[in-house]
């Protein structure tokens, strides 16, 4: 699992670029060049669609609501609308969403870990311990 959500990373890179006085496009390019995340292909495709004036709804259909919102804001930014205040607000929301996702995963983890232990490792112990006894028992019968 990546350390940080790629959506959050993209948002922060674009925000940092805007705060440094550069454009949204520079921020996106910076994100694509310095990170290898699971959404790199999606971002590259999305920016190509935007440049060709194509509809991006189909492309972002399977993305989460946070990601879709971010792309909508970025599209506005690419069209020249000032988006920094929106990005700041969205960052808080994305952070909350990431934290809750992580919390949920950490909570589910003990149950997930129990499954291989019960169904694979515990039988492995049993075979090792009881195998010779069962074999002797069967040969005596």
């Amino acid at each position: 699992m990546e350390n940080i959500s790629p959506t959050l990373l993209l948002l922060m890179e674009v925000r940092a670029a805007l705060e440094c006085g550069t454009s949204v496009r520079t921020g996106i390019k910076q994100f694509l060049s310095s990170n290898e995340t699971s959404i790199n292909d999606l971002v590259a495709k999305w920016i190509l669609y935007i440049d060709q004036n194509q509809d991006t709804t189909q492309l972002l259909r399977s993305s989460s609501s946070c990601r879709r919102t971010l792309f909508t804001i970025l599209e506005k930014g690419l069209n020249g609308v000032p988006i920094l205040p929106f990005l700041v607000e969205l960052e808080i929301e994305v952070l909350k969403s990431c934290e809750s996702e992580l919390y949920e995963r950490v909570n589910k983890l003990p149950f997930k870990l129990m499954l291989p232990v019960f169904f694979l490792m515990f039988p492995a112990y049993l075979i090792l311990l009881l195998g010779p006894f069962i074999e002797t028992l069967l040969s005596n019968l």
């Binding site: 959500s5 705060e19 310095s34 232990v117 075979i127």
Partner: protein, 246 residues
């Protein structure tokens, strides 16, 4: 016995000399490292003298270990650097911001922090700064961790009036990465500990049964091992997990 200890002492002195030569050749201004290696050699010598095990084997092991550490010093230091990159960088950025808000320029603050430090991280930063000034290629910059920082240095060089803002935004990005990394580490530690304890118990049981002369059929052993390793693989896959939904 006396002859043995004499040989051992000369051997360790010889190793110490090689260590010093190697360190000087690599031009790493690591005075702390040199003294640490001296202490380690002394510690090994004590262990070898007082241990009940075969001293020659132990001394050979430690000598090989030491030589490996010295010859691959830069490689080991780079691993440590990569692991400690975010906390070190956060601390450095905090110091930099403090100095800059007190009225010093970016370059002056940068030099104040890095110039008199023997910390390997600061040495690398110094190298990046020099490379930036001379406009030449350096392997440090091609390291993934330093690439973003290098770009920020470039931007600061172009727009020095925005230095504090750039540093602060970079710091925020690193801080959030660090917080999430710590939280994820908690999860991976849990999996690692569980896998380690279960493996320890399993192989302990296997050794115990072997010492007890319990005959285990090959088919049973094969099945048990397959199940156990499938379990370990599942634990590993759970640890890797899927992508972020957000």
């Amino acid at each position: 016995m006396i002859i043995f200890f004499t040989f051992l002492s000369f051997g360790l002195l010889f190793v110490n000399r090689i260590v010093q030569i190697q360190l000087n050749r690599k031009t790493l201004p690591e005075a702390i490292l040199k003294s640490t290696i001296k202490k380690i050699i002394l510690f090994f010598w004590m262990i070898v003298c007082f241990s009940p095990w075969t001293p020659v084997l132990i001394s050979l092991f430690f000598v090989i270990l030491l030589l490996f550490v010295v010859f691959r010093l830069e490689f080991i230091l780079n691993i440590i650097l990569r692991r400690q990159f975010i906390p070190n960088m956060l601390q450095f950025l905090d110091e930099l911001t403090l100095l800059m808000t007190s009225g010093k320029s970016f370059n002056e603050s940068f030099r104040t922090i890095t110039l008199n430090s023997n910390h390997y991280f600061h040495i690398k930063l110094r190298e990046i700064n020099t490379v930036q000034l001379l406009n030449v290629h350096s392997p440090t910059i091609s390291q993934k961790e330093f690439s973003l920082f290098n770009q920020i240095l470039y931007l600061i060089d172009k727009n020095p009036h925005l230095a504090v803002e750039k540093i602060k935004s970079y710091r925020r990005l690193l801080h959030i990465q660090y917080v999430f990394k710590k939280k994820l580490q908690q999860k991976s530690y849990q999996i690692k500990v569980q896998a380690l304890i279960l493996s320890f118990l399993y192989f302990g049981l296997l050794i115990f049964l072997n010492f007890n002369h319990t005959k285990i059929a090959i088919s049973h052993l094969g099945l048990s091992l397959t199940l156990f390793f499938s379990g370990l693989l599942s634990l590993y896959l759970i640890g890797r997990d899927t992508k972020w939904k957000t």
